[in-house]
């Protein structure tokens, strides 16, 4: 939060078929559908999130991620960071308030890895879904599927992660919480946080620009992750790998795909990070264990299947 960036705010994901996508994100993952805009985009959120939405689905010919946005403290921060992004050399575009219904002015910028990012200061707050902010009950009783609590982070693949990590640390004030280094000390992966979470965004070096590896949603317990695995089987959903544990961040996790081939993760647990913490390092010769702590080998699909 050193530069006033608070947290992940929203991600816009392209899907091939909206009805099928809603069966995945709403009925299986258990996100709450909050809105549909005039362009046909559908807005969703995890039930614990206070803002109106955190996931936007857009029907398109090519799956993948349009952009991911981070919420900053206020408009002064937004204006200051906008200037710093321009000075850093990003192509910066101002998106007017209301382009996403309920969201204020956004500052969109490109990055060396080919991904589009946004920052914004204002979004309509509708409060946690199904519980009051005064004397709140433990949880709403009519949640669906995996009952995901929030959009947590995304993992992005692209070339020159060094450049994008520099952008996130120097301009946006993120910390490197965890990393993978090869024998020469080159960073092959970086897990970055704006706060105390083990990661708010992660990057892995990859030759193609702008690739989307997964969006991730938080569950409370390992039991919830196992129940998610049961639901994946019950719905005949395409499984990638899990349930298992990561070495990196130590989260307990399962990966699967939406009906358009975008990967989804649900996970629980994970390490924490304070600004005075040195990055945790995994070495490339232990990459299998770093990614899948139990299997200790990588599968080809996890490395190559991106949208």
């Amino acid at each position: 939060m050193k530069k006033g960036v608070m947290r992940p705010g929203h991600i816009q994901i392209r899907v091939l078929d909206m009805a099928e996508a809603l069966e995945h994100y709403r009925d299986l993952i258990g996100l709450i559908e909050t809105h549909k805009d005039s362009q046909g985009r559908v807005y969703l959120k995890g039930w614990t999130e206070v803002d109106k939405f955190s996931v936007v689905l857009r029907e398109a010919d090519e799956p993948g991620m349009d952009f991911v946005g981070y919420k900053v403290l206020n408009n002064q921060v937004l204006e200051k960071l906008e200037q710093e992004l321009i000075a850093f050399g990003c192509n910066v575009e101002a998106i007017p308030a209301g382009e996403l219904d309920g969201c204020g002015r956004r500052v969109r910028f490109d990055s060396p890895t080919g991904h589009m990012f946004e920052i914004y200061a204002e979004k309509e707050q509708t409060g946690k879904w199904g519980v009051s902010n005064v004397n709140p009950e433990a949880f709403p009783r009519d949640l669906k599927g995996m009952k995901a609590t929030r959009f947590d982070h995304c993992l992005l693949y692209g070339p020159n992660i060094a450049g994008t990590i520099q952008l996130f640390t120097e301009v946006l004030g993120f910390d490197i919480a965890e990393q993978v280094l090869d024998g020469e000390g080159t960073r092959l992966a970086g897990f970055l946080t704006a706060g105390m979470k083990a990661h708010d965004v992660a990057f892995i070096e990859h030759p193609e620009l702008g690739k989307f590896h997964h969006s991730s949603f938080f569950l409370e317990t390992w039991e919830d992750v196992l129940r998610a695995a049961d639901l994946i089987s019950m719905t005949d959903t395409s499984l990638d790998i899990g349930p298992t544990r990561h070495g990196l961040t130590h989260g307990k996790t399962i990966y699967f795909f939406d009906p358009s081939g975008n990967r989804t993760e649900v996970f629980c647990g994970g390490d924490y990070h304070y600004p005075d913490h040195e990055p945790v390092t995994w070495t490339a010769d232990e990459l299998g264990k770093a990614i899948f702590y139990h299997d200790r080998v990588l599968n080809e699909r996890f490395l190559s299947a991106v949208t």
């Binding site: 091939l16 090519e62 799956p63 192509n91 450049g163 620009l209 081939g261 990967r263 299947a305 949208t307």
Partner: protein
């Protein structure tokens, strides 16, 4: 519907580059039909038409298909018989070639 659809006989799928043939149940995609038989002759990725790992070229046989990522099969490529196995549903016996997935290396690095 042609006569081949009227029985519940599976379709024979010949994957020439791997020298393998498997039986794909009706109603299954080329990819899920292959996975069910553990035939292991087309690479499996997302199973949703997004990642391109299951890209094939169709040499022979009629099929129907579901929407697939234009990033991996452009309309021109589709004309030439390229397809994603996870989005292709055979209507008769087919001959295909797998292993057409390739990563497009970035031509340009750095913030433009």
């Amino acid at each position: 519907m042609s006569s081949t659809d009227s029985s519940n006989q599976p379709f024979e799928i010949k994957v020439v580059n791997r020298g393998k043939t498997y039986l794909c149940d009706q109603g299954e995609s080329l990819l899920s039909g292959m996975e069910q038989k553990s035939a292991d002759c087309i690479n499996v990725g997302c199973r949703g038409g997004g990642c391109g790992m299951c890209k094939i070229r169709i040499i022979k046989g009629r099929f129907t298909s579901k929407r697939m990522s234009k990033a991996h099969v452009s309309p021109e490529e589709a004309e030439k018989g390229y397809a994603l196995a996870c989005r292709t549903f055979p209507s008769e016996n087919m001959v295909i070639e797998s292993d057409h997935f390739q990563i497009d290396e970035a031509v340009e690095l750095g913030t433009s």
